[in-house]
Symmetry: C2
Subunit: 356 residues, 2 copies
């Protein structure tokens, strides 16, 4: 069974959110963080929607995480007063001016991962609070725990206020990797925090977290920043993080072409996104037909093999879970909100395309 | 050297189009089609921009190809009077009404690939002109040439007017595959057209074409529908279809993090798209540094290895060619237009997200 019950008369392709499943996901993560004594600061890049941010904050989130200054501006305008830009922002003149304006309105923190970046940020936004980004094994941005001192010292000299450390344990996005990634995260954040303490600096924030590792995270942390958990997606399903009953968002696609054992839906990569990690079984999944596989994806075509029984008829509307829900949401102007199969609202994706 | 000369003071990430290279690409494809006596009907899903459609039409294109009814509506509103929806549109009540409105304003053709789809279309839009979609080897939508009769007869019975056949030789998107794909296209379209002629139906349009196969296409066709050629992208570069001097569009990204031999840019999958065919060397290419590789891509991070010489400094702005330019453009609200490194215009991506 599809988790989300699709309403009749949808104009496909579109993204459909089940408000009841969404609320359950929000409550479950708030409960998990609360039980472990962790601040929850959900990553809003997943949903980019003000009504969802409101629900997360109402459920106890301390503030929001965002990836870009533009996202921070949109959620600040929407009423969020506590924002962390979990990114080593390069503070050129343009972005510096925008950060200064933001810092006057809301409690703002920004990531740094280099002395040079900290110096640019300090010149642009004197007195800004920062967290030093640590690489806990994902090997993207962030410094090794042993190198945190150089960045922190440069930040303080540049007039920034170091408030702690953060990491993204992105290596949790692989089969059976979540527990080890959470352990890496705990060890690395703790070691980095000790470096700050040894310098006499504030290590009060030790922030980590991801949706796959959430069940294993906590030791040594003060805060978690999962994003995808609000909706779930095919990746989380295939990683075992959620079941189909936890999928709060699906793409609805119409069968436009059909041949024995397969159908083509009108929800392609311009709706689902083209994300496909090597371990994924395809370009998305069909919650109502777990044996189906999205074997090919082009801009307006999802080719779905249908091994069991008769494939759906031409004109049938099918729910597809995108592989990576953050990418899918960023392609949509609005989310169609349903309860028990009835459309109850449409939420603008307010921060769609807010990349700068 | 990067094909596009980036202006100073860009707000990154953003997409930058060099108008001179764009115009040269448009002229070259118009010339190729003209030499071969083919109608050129460029696929507008690549650029989604009215000023680019105007340039293509001014250069001699007969009309535009689009993928969706929504795209057709936008280009019709922008003044295009001849549109082909190269897609087996499922004509439910909503889409049927929109197609009827469009058919009253412009010369409109739509694809069909099933008797059932043709019947629905005929009920919704009596008298509409259609082309039957043929599978020439890409194995997505379309019928085998031998099955064209059943679809064409159903279409005529449903009150549609069959005007010929079309195919997308998408199997040209692989190394050294373009010539064979063009040959498949010619054989299949010709065979399908013969089926129509045998039925006494109009086979006047035999439409094919793709950017990789364009240099080899023509025999047996009356029309070509390439899209990507206006901009080029990393896929076309790696397939050998274009050189870096033909890249009219790049993403501009700022170096936000740096370690020996690699940099991280702020142009991630929410700017470039996540398309990566198995044969691609990475998630995009750096025109100014052909040995660089985009080894990882997340939403706001492109991790680029830089084997030769010192990687660019923090804060440097780098041009990246997306793998698939259609996906990148669909993520942007506007294109920054430059000539000789100076910003001369900004073009709205009018049909961004026009998926329905």
């Amino acid at each position: 069974m599809s988790a989300v019950q699709l309403p009749a008369d949808l104009v496909t392709p579109c993204l459909v959110v089940d408000a009841a499943i969404l609320d359950a996901n929000i409550a479950a993560m708030a409960g998990l963080a609360g039980e472990r004594g962790l601040d929850l600061r959900p990553h809003a890049k997943t949903h980019k929607c003000l009504p969802i941010a409101d629900r997360q904050l109402a459920a106890g989130a301390r503030g929001l995480t965002v990836a870009t200054v533009a996202e921070a501006e949109i959620f600040a305008a929407g009423g969020c007063t506590d924002l962390f830009v979990a990114y080593p922002v390069w503070a050129d003149a343009h972005r510096g001016a925008r950060l200064r304006a933001l810092a006057e309105r809301v409690a703002l923190r920004v990531g740094v991962d280099s002395a040079t970046g900290a110096e640019a940020l300090g010149r642009a936004v004197p007195g800004l609070e920062v967290l030093v980004e640590i690489d806990s094994g994902h090997h993207r941005t962030g410094v090794a725990a042993a190198d945190v001192r150089a960045v922190a010292v440069a930040a303080e000299r540049a007039g920034l206020h170091v408030r702690g450390v953060f990491t993204f344990p992105g290596h949790s996005y692989a089969p059976d990797a979540a527990r080890a990634a959470a352990a890496d995260e705990a060890v690395t954040l703790s070691a980095a925090a000790e470096e700050l303490v040894a310098l006499g600096l504030d290590a009060g924030v030790r922030s980590g977290g991801s949706t796959p590792s959430a069940a294993h995270t906590g030791a040594g942390l003060t805060e978690v920043r999962p994003g995808v958990y609000v909706f779930g997606d095919a990746q989380q399903w295939e990683l075992g993080t959620i079941g189909t009953d936890g999928l709060a968002l699906v793409a609805a696609g119409t069968v436009v072409s059909r041949s024995p054992g397969r159908v083509v839906l009108d929800a392609g990569s311009k709706v689902l996104g083209a994300d496909r990690p090597a371990w994924a079984s395809g370009f998305g999944r069909v919650p109502g037909q777990p044996d189906a596989r999205v074997v090919a994806l082009s801009e307006h075509h999802a080719t779905v093999t249908w091994p069991d029984g008769e494939p759906p008829a031409l004109g049938a509307v099918i729910a597809l879970a995108p592989n990576h829900v953050c990418a899918a949401v960023n392609l949509a102007d609005e989310l169609v909100v349903v309860r028990a199969g009835q459309v109850v609202d449409r939420w603008p994706v307010a921060a769609r395309g807010a990349n700068t």
